[in-house]
Symmetry: C2
Subunit: 274 residues, 2 copies
């Protein structure tokens, strides 16, 4: 498996090159392929993580309500709390494989352990992740090309602007999966039943309708190769808060690294309706 060339993270986001530079300072992550929890915890719900100062927590919680497709909230901890009811034996500062530390919208570090960056005024949010519906897709006969190829899912910043909330604004991020054309309908149906982990896709077919120029050059995660007859399907993605951090520049935040999720103890079935 070869490393996938990275494009600037901020291609659509703030148009400068510094994030690229920051990334080159973290070669292990910049290596790209394979650094993911996708396919590693079948049957369990996985979560995006963002911890933000209490002073920004209302704006963020409001943002999630106004943008439920990319930001379905699974849990909110009290300020300073480090254990979620969704994974009682784990510390939210260490359980994800890798974290990102943000200052004023800039990515400043990507540690495996976020404890030394912790502050007691941080409010941690766990947000649904589309990896949670991948077991259901598999059970329905939908192949997962990124898992087959041992890669992270491909994620893209779209030209869809989220609905702002207080000081927070920014574009929606989506994950992309190659799906055989004959299975697009079933993939839609299976995921629509799991709205807490992003639900139905926001688009399928033409990446340009989401403002995505090149489906082989993701903004986050890995490029994934299609099989003949595959079409791209796009789901709202819990990396959206990271695009919002870049745009809105709160003074401090901690997130997981894209694709390197907080794996919960919750069965994926708990997030299925009907």
């Amino acid at each position: 498996m070869e490393a996938v060339p990275k494009r600037p993270l901020d291609r659509h986001v703030h148009g400068s090159q510094h994030t690229q530079t920051t990334f080159q300072a973290h070669p292990r992550v910049a290596e790209g392929a394979g650094m993911t929890t996708a396919g590693k915890a079948p049957g369990l719900a996985q979560a995006n993580l963002i911890a933000i100062p209490k002073d920004w927590a209302y704006d963020f919680l409001l943002f999630t309500h106004r943008n439920p497709k990319p930001c379905p909230v699974l849990d909110v901890l009290d300020a300073g709390e480090t254990v979620s009811a969704l994974k009682p034996d784990a510390d939210v500062r260490t359980h994800a494989p890798r974290y990102r530390i943000w200052e004023h919208g800039e990515l400043v570090a990507e540690p495996e352990n976020a404890t030394e960056h912790w502050r007691d005024d941080l409010v941690t949010f766990l947000i649904g992740c589309s990896f949670t519906f991948e077991t259901a897709l598999t059970n329905a006969g939908v192949p997962l090309r990124h898992v087959e190829q041992g890669r992270n899912v491909a994620m893209f910043v779209t030209d869809i602007q989220c609905r702002p909330a207080g000081r927070l604004h920014g574009p929606m991020v989506v994950s992309m999966r190659w799906v055989p054309e004959s299975l697009v309908d079933i993939a839609h149906k299976v995921t629509a039943l799991m709205p807490s982990v992003h639900g139905a896709p926001v688009g399928a077919g033409d990446p340009k309708m989401l403002g995505i120029d090149d489906v082989h050059a993701p903004d986050f995660g890995d490029a994934v190769e299609p099989e003949p007859g595959d079409v791209p399907m796009f789901w709202a993605c819990g990396v959206t808060p990271q695009a919002v951090l870049m745009k809105s520049k709160p003074p401090f935040a901690i997130t997981h690294a894209p694709g390197q999720m907080f794996v919960t103890d919750m069965p994926d079935f708990a997030y299925r309706v009907g």
Copy 2:
């Protein structure tokens, strides 16, 4: 149609009689039967409403996240805002048929127009209402006894405690519908697909499992008569915030009156998944 005798609103809530007294001061509402938007706006989503001072908004928003069954949020306005995107031509202070004004957990007035009680620090929340799935139930062949009888739905305070958030805590309220036993499964299936308007029922059959002593003596709304072979089904209810107000006693709040909802312009189908 005869008026339904009221039991103290606070039967399970704070154990005193004053709410009963307050109710007697509002005879038009105390008349009970028929004062409802149930069945009056088929195909449109209806919403519960609560406006609470900005200082309490984070606690409330967190409460809704921690209790998504009774409190699925459809919209959150900014402080002082009086128009929701879900009903752009209406004022949230006048569009519901009747409001409740709360001070320190006490019901102090029930006006048809809440404008004179408005404060610019109020943050308005619109919360999903189970009336929204009633058209889907009808379409699936499930009769609605309360609509047939021209009554409000029956609502009960349960012994299920919600998950607290900040200063807010209190019991879950449920709505009850009589459903022919042969249609219980389809009623479950239809409503499970609409999680934003309370989703699947929280119980069916024995009211005692929810701490409800007498299914003919609701805490809010009207008593509804079953037909032979009907069993009671219970759904989490957006009147829960009112039970929480009684218990948690924030200094001020405005809500709709139970069953007299804020009718939106949104098609009910918008809140259906799958």
